[in-house]
């Protein structure tokens, strides 16, 4: 009988702030997942998220001005296995400060091996250290794989609703 729990073995990895040398691998992972090479976009994100302070390795002090944005990578040695990006946002639409996750990606061949879970937990830990106790994200309604991932971490619909119109 198939394993009804469907669990795969966990991939060992370490999580740290992304460095400039990681970005090419992040771009490759994103391209694997989306089919698009967005070099400039990822370089710009890195500059805005991790390159604002003098020492991008410094993941310890969570001074509000320096460390409320997190661009993290999960690594096995020099190999980047996945990434996650989030930031603490405050008072948008009346919401008290909370963590926002707006990008996550894992190499296709190691899906379901726990790298995404490790990245998400690492980002949540940093949000807690930054003083927030709520995490949010926004997803395409038909992107059920990623939505299932966030739901597996206990995320439920929040009190906000997204609206849009053609311009």
């Amino acid at each position: 009988m198939a394993n009804p729990h469907g669990k795969n073995s966990e991939k060992k990895c370490t999580v740290r702030l992304a460095k400039a040398a990681d970005i090419a691998q992040v771009i490759a992972i994103d391209a694997e997942n989306t089919g698009l090479f967005k070099d400039e976009y990822w370089q710009d994100l890195f500059e805005r998220y991790n390159n604002r302070t003098a020492a991008p390795d410094d993941d310890a002090p969570l001074k509000s001005a320096n460390r409320y944005r997190f661009f993290l990578v999960a690594c096995d040695g020099d190999s980047v296995l996945g990434f996650i990006i989030g930031e603490v946002r405050a008072w948008e639409f009346g919401s008290p400060p909370c963590g926002w996750v707006f990008a996550i990606g894992v190499r296709n061949q190691i899906r379901q091996e726990g790298v995404g879970n490790t990245l998400f937990e690492a980002l949540c830990d940093r949000f807690r250290k930054a003083g927030v106790y709520k995490v949010r994200t926004m997803l395409a309604r038909d992107h059920t794989v990623i939505m299932s991932f966030f739901r597996s971490h206990g995320m439920m619909a929040g009190p906000f609703i997204e609206l849009e119109k053609d311009l």
Binding site: A2, P4, H5, R141, T144, M147, S148, R151, S152, A157
Partner: protein
């Protein structure tokens, strides 16, 4: 939003059976816990058996056990066996739908249908069982 009786029976049965590895329960045991008819539940379990989500265990102490994949099976997979949660999206039409008012109403109802569908499609049994545990 309200689910049909057969759908609720199916969801309760699956959540019970999938809650533990190789868990085996009789239709009576499940029916008693949820206050539902054993006959009705037996029919529902046969439907779930036909699609490979449960299997009957014969003999003394027999019953049913979950035979699907907890991390792959979603609430939508089960619900769709018994009912359509997005009838307008699936082309069902009612009187007045061709008027401007009817079209506007369909547009609003489809928005609700799409959200319901996305919610059910993103909840795996594994996640649902964790949610059940948090409610104990």
């Amino acid at each position: 939003m309200k689910l049909q009786k057969a759908t609720r029976c199916a969801l309760f049965a699956i959540l019970e059976l999938a809650a533990g590895h190789d868990r085996q329960l009789s239709a009576n045991e499940i029916a008693e816990k949820y206050g539902i008819s054993t006959n009705h539940l037996a029919k529902v379990l046969r439907s779930l058996g036909r699609v490979g989500l449960v299997e009957a265990v014969r003999g003394a102490g027999g019953g049913y056990r979950f035979s699907g994949n907890r991390r792959r099976t979603t609430l939508l997979d089960i619900i769709q066996l018994f009912e359509t949660i997005d009838p307008i999206r699936n082309g069902e039409r009612e009187d007045g739908d061709d008027t401007a008012e009817g079209k506007a109403l369909c547009q609003v109802l489809m928005e609700i249908e799409d959200t319901a569908r996305a919610t059910f499609a993103s909840l795996t049994l594994d996640t649902m069982i964790k949610l059940v545990d948090r409610n104990r």
